[in-house]
């Protein structure tokens, strides 16, 4: 579990890289931390792993206070750093074994984990070669294996798939999803919004060190993009003038064979709307929710943030 309150970091006594960040991620949840380059994602992650001492605020990670028990925090957290940070003169095998020892795993456990992870990420053959010879994506996969070697309760993944090819990032995503289902607590910093959308149930958008927006994904979509929109498609052109709209429904776009509604509370309104349409002679082919993406939420939020920054 990860809890943070008012987490803040000032660098060189004059620059707040992170300010007032509060988070709460439960076991079995994934939080996607989104934000531009330099927004403060890495700094936040480093504070959560007790690498940087917060200038203000506190955090509890895996049940330990990052300020009072940094050692315990680090033992229970797996971190994938933004730069892979591999020792280039070690082989993949040696590298994982080294970190297995650092995390105090028994010899059997080290071996078993390394075999599993190398196999999972398709690195078994490369494991006898020095990591300096690996491609960027392979390096990142090995770094991911390092982060997972001690099967940690909490995972902090800083741009985990940025250098991977589509297959590799798919593998990484699947593994992350599997870890989520086995009750790990995960934060993932990423610029890949599709990835964030498929993996995360919670999202936080950080801008110039401050959290602009955070919450469950569906909730955020409502909050930023307004009420959900639904579209009805008709078999032949339909004149909606006669339609008697239930309360909380508004037509936002139309053409001959389509109508798009904005609906405040679809749960209660939709059944009666559909009934009204058919009873008024509309031959409905499909009625579906217009998909709204995290990308829209993100871009809209950034737009607003920049407007207010310029206004100031």
């Amino acid at each position: 579990m990860i809890e943070a309150y008012d987490l803040s970091k000032e660098f060189n006594g004059n620059f707040w890289a992170v300010e007032g960040v509060s988070l709460n991620v439960q076991a079995g949840q994934i939080l996607a931390l989104l934000g531009q380059n330099g927004a403060g994602k890495t700094t936040t992650v480093r504070m959560l792993n007790a690498l940087l001492t917060p200038t203000r605020g506190w955090a509890r990670v895996a049940g330990y206070d990052v300020i009072k028990n940094p050692q315990e925090v680090r033992s229970n957290v797996g971190v994938l750093t933004e730069q892979h940070g591999l020792y280039v003169r070690m082989t993949g095998d040696e590298y994982l074994d080294y970190f297995g020892r650092v995390y105090r795993l028994s010899a059997e456990k080290r071996k078993a984990r390394a075999v599993y992870l190398l196999d999972y990420f398709g690195l078994t053959e490369a494991a006898k070669r020095r990591t300096g010879e690996y491609s960027k994506g392979m390096k990142q996969k090995l770094a991911m294996a390092r982060a997972l070697i001690h099967d940690p309760a909490v995972l902090l993944l800083d741009e985990p798939t940025s250098a991977m090819d589509p297959e590799a990032s798919r593998l990484a995503r699947d593994e992350i999803a599997r870890l989520k289902s086995s009750q790990r607590t995960i934060i993932i910093c990423t610029h890949n919004l599709v990835e964030a959308e498929t993996l995360a149930d919670h999202v936080a958008i950080i801008y110039r060190g401050k959290i602009l927006l955070s919450g469950a994904l569906d909730e955020l979509k409502r909050q930023v993009l307004g009420a959900a929109e639904y579209e009805a498609k008709f078999a032949e052109s339909y004149d909606a003038e006669a339609l008697d709209l239930p309360a909380g429904v508004e037509i936002v776009a139309r053409n001959a064979t389509r109508l798009r509604f904005r609906i405040e509370s679809p749960q209660t309104t939709n059944p009666s709307l559909v009934a009204a349409l058919t009873s008024r002679g509309a031959r409905v082919v499909s009625f579906y929710e217009v998909p709204r993406t995290l990308e829209q939420v993100y871009l809209r939020t950034m737009e607003r943030a920049q407007e207010t920054t310029y206004a100031e």
């Binding site: 060189n12 792993n49 690498l51 001492t53 940070g85």
Partner: protein
């Protein structure tokens, strides 16, 4: 404890193995180890031939330990890079973060790096000396005794520990490998000077003194390790600034610390200076105690040991006494030869020297210099006693009047220096090493400017314009 050692060993072993996969480290090492002994051996052969012609075997015998020590030193200097790169190298290559993310403790990481940093040069150095000694067996020259060899091995060890413990500090603090390497000469040069002193001692056969050197150097290394550990912060190793020296910020830090919250000079004296002085209680007690010991010890040494070297007959004592008194009777002339400002300047300079030495050695050398000064006082009193003056009268008439001010000034300044040195080796949570240094200097300057300089001024006036008359009156001149 066992766990602790495991972590240290883990860090050290990885790094040790790693460096032997790097030909840039191995190649020079092999050359150093392999080539040097042969060159030295060839020189030894020439020396033997030369000496045999002139029958100077004694010199040759003395020369061998000297050569062994020097051969042991070169590999140390050339493999210092291992320690210099220990942290800043990993930082530049970006491999430090996974290590810092791990549950290894600060001291495990630090000591692990220290261990490799020391082991590599020592192995190189001992292999090199071993090879030379093996070659030496074939030569017609007296092989150094086991005692001398042990001494040399320990000296080499002490050099390695001293250089590496400094180099590791540089490695943590430096912002780039290049900067660390530029600073290397600050490590190698002092040790090279120490080495010169030691070789002289070996050459002249004063081996006993070298044991003190070993102890002192090891002690200093211990303090350096403590300094390094006290200021080891994971945060700094993630810092992004590249070789920037923010002078403005340091100057502001200094002046803020120096002035404090004072609104004016009187306010500063009333509110701020007492805060600093209050912190000097313990160091002051220590300084006064050990200077009392130094005065008595050197007084005792003088009256016991000097007569053992120089026989002072009653006539000779009488002669010396008369000479001293005749000098004393013209003492008031002193103000024309040694004006008070000059005396003031000398004293201020001595205190500054004590401080500078002290800050460079965490108090140790500064305290040493201070004790030498205190010892001189004891020595003068002892000498007075030897030629028949009352040491107490000499003290109260000749030293006490200005000494009340001058000694107080010396005590305060030295206590402030000890405090600054101790501050440096004490863990600081919110300040970097550079900042701690600035703060320590500012604290010392407060005492120096606020109270030591005024005291010295008064003391100089008294010593030049009053002490001569008091002395004359006391001795009835």
């Amino acid at each position: 404890m066992r766990n602790n050692w495991d972590g240290i060993w883990l860090v050290a072993r990885r790094e040790f193995v790693d460096q032997f996969r790097d030909w840039r480290i191995i190649a020079p090492m092999i050359i150093m180890i392999g080539l040097f002994p042969f060159i030295a051996d060839a020189n030894t052969r020439e020396a033997i031939n030369f000496m045999n012609r002139y029958g100077g075997d004694l010199i040759l015998e003395r020369l061998v330990p000297f050569v062994v020590l020097v051969i042991g030193f070169f590999p140390l200097a050339f493999t210092l890079g291992v320690a210099l790169e220990a942290f800043v190298g990993e930082k530049e290559r970006g491999t430090i973060e996974p290590l810092l993310n791990s549950p290894l403790t600060d001291s495990q990481i630090y000591l692990g790096k220290l261990l490799v940093g020391i082991a590599t040069p020592l192995i190189a150095s001992y292999l090199s000396t071993g090879l030379y000694l093996a070659l030496l067996l074939r030569r017609a020259v007296t092989f150094p005794s086991a005692y001398i060899l042990l001494l040399i091995l320990l000296l080499t060890f002490a050099h390695a520990v001293l250089m590496v413990s400094s180099a590791i500090i540089i490695s943590v603090q430096a912002t780039s490998i290049r900067a660390a390497n530029l600073l290397a000469s600050f490590v190698v040069m002092p040790v090279a000077f120490i080495l010169q002193g030691e070789t002289t001692l070996i050459f002249w056969g004063d081996e006993e003194v070298l044991w003190y050197a070993i102890v002192a150097v090891t002690l200093l290394s211990g303090l350096l390790v403590r300094l390094g550990l006290a200021h080891f912060r994971r945060e700094y190793l993630l810092g992004r600034e590249i070789d920037t020296l923010n002078l403005k910020r340091l100057a502001r830090l200094f002046s803020d610390r120096f002035t404090g919250k004072a609104k004016g000079i009187f306010n500063w004296y009333r509110e701020e200076l007492p805060l600093t002085l209050a912190q000097l209680r313990t160091p002051l007690l220590i300084v006064i105690t050990i200077s009392a010991v130094a005065v008595f010890a050197s007084y005792g040494w003088t009256i016991v040991q000097i007569p053992a070297y120089i026989t002072i007959t009653p006539e000779r004592a009488e002669e010396l006494r008369a000479y001293a008194l005749s000098n004393a009777s013209s003492l008031e002339m002193i103000s024309s030869q040694l004006p008070a400002p000059v005396l003031f300047y000398h004293n201020a300079r001595a205190i500054l020297a004590i401080f500078l030495l002290g800050i460079a050695s965490f108090g140790v050398l500064g305290l040493g210099l201070f004790l030498v000064n205190m010892g001189l006082v004891g020595g003068v009193l002892g000498a007075a006693k030897l030629i028949g003056f009352s040491p107490l009268l000499t003290f109260f008439a000749g030293v006490a009047p200005h000494g009340v001010f001058e000694l107080t000034a010396f005590f305060l300044a030295t206590a402030a220096m000890v405090k600054a040195g101790a501050q440096l080796v004490t863990p600081q949570t919110e300040r970097s090493m550079g900042e701690t240094l600035i703060v320590s200097i500012a604290d010392w300057c407060r005492v120096f400017v606020g109270i030591v300089l005024p005291l010295l001024a008064v003391a100089a006036m008294i010593e030049i314009y009053a002490t001569p008359y008091i002395l004359k009156a006391a001795f009835g001149l």
